[in-house]
Symmetry: D2
Subunit: 296 residues, 4 copies
């Protein structure tokens, strides 16, 4: 993918050398990119009155690996700008309700798949080491990302010291972060439509010399630009919901990788926890349950 | 799958008619079911000194569709009983770290896939209707499930009235639920190792005549037995982490399905919200961002 | 008290008719009101080179009931403007540490006393009725006031239906309030230094026709101006802490008054709750404790 | 006060040497201590058919400084045992609603007064030093005490490092405390009807060698017996509400005392915070407000 290239600029720079039909496509995209991003090559061609193959060649001319590649970038660029209302109307127009249902799940699976494919193991391992070697670990997430931040904190608290989840509360997030130093790391979770305050807070800790690990959806997301290390997992925007399924899968992998590095400590921790859970009946030990089954 | 059959009891009932080799397998499983559940047919055979095909026939004899089917049930039955320490040791013994990483993602994808395959559209639609037609909707989740409960509440709050997320807080969960009536619905999210208090609370509201929609991992989970409607999505237990990826995907589908039924109201709601978000700069509108890209 | 009069403007209007010594006082106050507000008449006189009695007459001339009355107003006007740093320096200069300690408690008691003296029973009763007759009751408090909001919600939840505490969380406070109607009431708790967002949110619900009950520190506070009903309880600002003791006392009275109006329902509710608490060992029943005492 | 003596046992031991009239009182108290604790000497005398002075002498015989002293102890001993329902009925019988209102405030003031009178400055200073010299400070409070814990944490977070508020949440309180060491301090806030889990958790950290500072209502409270340092502030139980006004006043004093010891650091911290608050419009700066007043 051509992450750091601006599609619109690319079109403008190459406009002169485009064919007459390609120019029609270019003009349409620049004026209606919100819609073009979700059209097939055939439909886009139909819309501007050219053949599907002209659309495909248009993508080639701009240097993309096919129309799908161009379309992906278009989606990437615009998604932060689409309001929720626009997104709802896209769903209403494009999908039967039956299809929509499966689409949600299929999209979630393909996002996890993409996450595995795109992951850079060295970068991932770098994040693991940074977390293990920091004095304090802050996990920042607001709005729907606050649940991922809480989930990550829930597990990290079992296995490492000095973990703080930073989210909306009585103390402002800036107050919660105002003692970070260059020995700490902040894990910032930021998904479209990127929360302004998350970005402000990441910039704030960056100025204090603190390392930032971003968990976000693309290298061109505003969070990625602030981060020292970026871990990518796509989100799935269908209608008014931003599915955070792939990011959750990434967080699982992160927690397990950190746990593995801690080795036998982990077993010891969980032995102690197991005693606590047993003593305070935290979990349902299924003896009675199984008896019920057997005697049914 | 034979959801409501108890494997151990099945073995006992059929013990007499088993071959000599099959009896060895049966005895091994009853004594070591924690380990047997994660062995291949070949390995299990090796362990008890019989051929792989004997193991496969053993599964057939008990009425399973192959050894994998028997193994799945074995895993289902035991997972609630395996302590976290046992689960960590399973991972340590079975997986190279490289594989583990991919295994997490692959397992998450296969769980989503299983969720789609197993979903009963009528049951799902029934849950949607029950939620839309209740006076109040309570969403109950504790421990790691509290993040799913919060996530579901985050979105339902936008689109329906009288949604309350019930989770650990100053008021006990029983206090938070003590005014439920038979006109309300409680959505209970319960995953292994099933929180005792979640189950107690679901029984408590059930006695009050309240309908219960369970989001859980199997029809034999303790939550499923309490629920009027059960929505299934598997969890992914690797080491000390319970991945809640497939349940999150299910929750997305649920939210969208409810939203679709609300029709134009949704568009109106989000138009109002869009005004609020703009006025209070909740989201990062990317004008500056894009300018930066263009001028880089 | 002369709540709605601006001291500074008053001085300017009366400047011409002041004596020479009084003019020195007037000029000092206008330039140093942050400090003057915390000086005794004697010290203020000393500072500008006039006698204590000149300072007292200065207050009379402006129409105050003595210097203390003028000083109170000065404190009221400025308190919202004093930054925390200024407040810390005031404490450092004015108080021995020993005195400070007692000052905190004495100030808290005098604030409660002032709350009882100033309370208008009709207004108070009006608030009680409004809360009992609303469809939904929202309790809004941010920052240190969020603990009062939570505390009020903790108890109201036992005795009335449809109580929601609105405070910083995954959903923005505007989103939490965006379904209020003119049948609902919002109780807004707002103390110096008044949170901007609380005020914005109260204005927001006011536009929607919702009744606002303000719990705040003075009739000239920004929250009082938005409120339909204002309940007053002073806060106690010493150094960097805003004591919310008197407001908590007011909230207790409010909860009990609402409870009394519910009559026998309350007894029934708490009988049910008592069963829950007993069943789930919420409270420490002191049998063992007393045995210990007896056997010591 | 005779803190560690059990009244009931005392009566039993002295029963033989009591006069005939005193024996009637003794029997009544042992059978009806819930009610006797709230009767005047005159009323108690009337109830059992003896004179008021017989009741007073009864108290003397047992070694109390007057009937009031005996009554106080009776109240102390029983308060943990009175259910909320019993407390509501006490209020219904004893108070007109008008009186009740003032009684709440007056009781709050007298509790603060009692707190000042009873405070041991050396113990208080010891608590301050322990908090300042610990590696980590945990603040534990559940149910209504969770708001005090949050309030204390809100301010301590500004001025010292490594402060964690421990209260009901996704992670169990034992999990939140399971890494405490003997270098840490846990501040436990525990008020009647003492939460079982708070006491369990304080015992748990005590076993780990961690120092415990208890904020509670009496030296015979179960929390006091676990604490290394006990800070006393009475609570005010009227009807179903436990007023935590005096404890809040104590917490203010504690925060300010800690702040004073930090000296210039505090000024620096708040200068930085002031910048943050200004930049993010956290507080309402009253320019517009004052203009409104002037132009009214």
């Amino acid at each position: 993918m051509k992450d750091n290239i601006d599609l619109i600029k690319l079109i403008q720079q190459n406009f002169a050398k485009l064919s007459k039909g390609q120019k029609l496509i270019a003009e349409y995209i620049m004026e209606n990119y919100d819609r073009a991003a979700f059209m097939t090559a055939a439909k886009l061609g139909e819309k501007v009155g050219v053949s599907e193959s002209t659309v495909v060649r248009f993508a080639d001319t701009l240097g993309y690996d096919g129309y799908r590649d161009l379309q992906n970038e278009l989606q990437e660029v615009i998604k932060n700008k689409l309001t929720t209302v626009q997104r709802i109307s896209l769903v209403d127009n494009c999908s039967s309700k039956e299809n929509l249902f499966e689409k949600v799940f299929k999209k979630d699976m393909s996002n996890i798949n993409k996450t595995v494919d795109e992951i850079d193991f060295d970068v991932f391992q770098d994040a693991v080491d940074k977390i293990l070697n920091s004095e304090k670990v802050y996990i920042l997430g607001l709005r729907s990302s606050s649940f991922l931040a809480g989930y990550l904190g829930f597990y990290l608290n079992f296995i490492i010291e000095n973990v703080t989840v930073v989210t909306a509360g009585p103390n402002d997030i800036f107050e919660q972060l105002f003692k970070v130093t260059d020995k700490d790391v902040v894990i910032g979770i930021s998904y479209p439509r990127y929360s302004t305050r998350t970005l402000d807070a990441l910039n704030y800790v960056k100025e204090k010399g603190c390392k930032v690990i971003g968990i976000t959806d693309s290298l061109i997301s505003p969070a990625a630009r602030i981060s020292d290390i970026t871990l990518l997992a796509s989100s799935n925007m269908v209608s008014f919901v931003d599915s955070l399924v792939a990011p959750m899968s990434l967080i699982n992998a992160l927690v397990i990788a950190i746990g593995m590095k801690k080795g036998d400590d982990i077993t010891k921790y969980f032995k102690d926890l197991e005693d606590i859970w047993k003593k305070h009946s935290v979990y349902n030990f299924t003896n009675k349950q199984n008896e019920n089954i057997r005697n049914k």
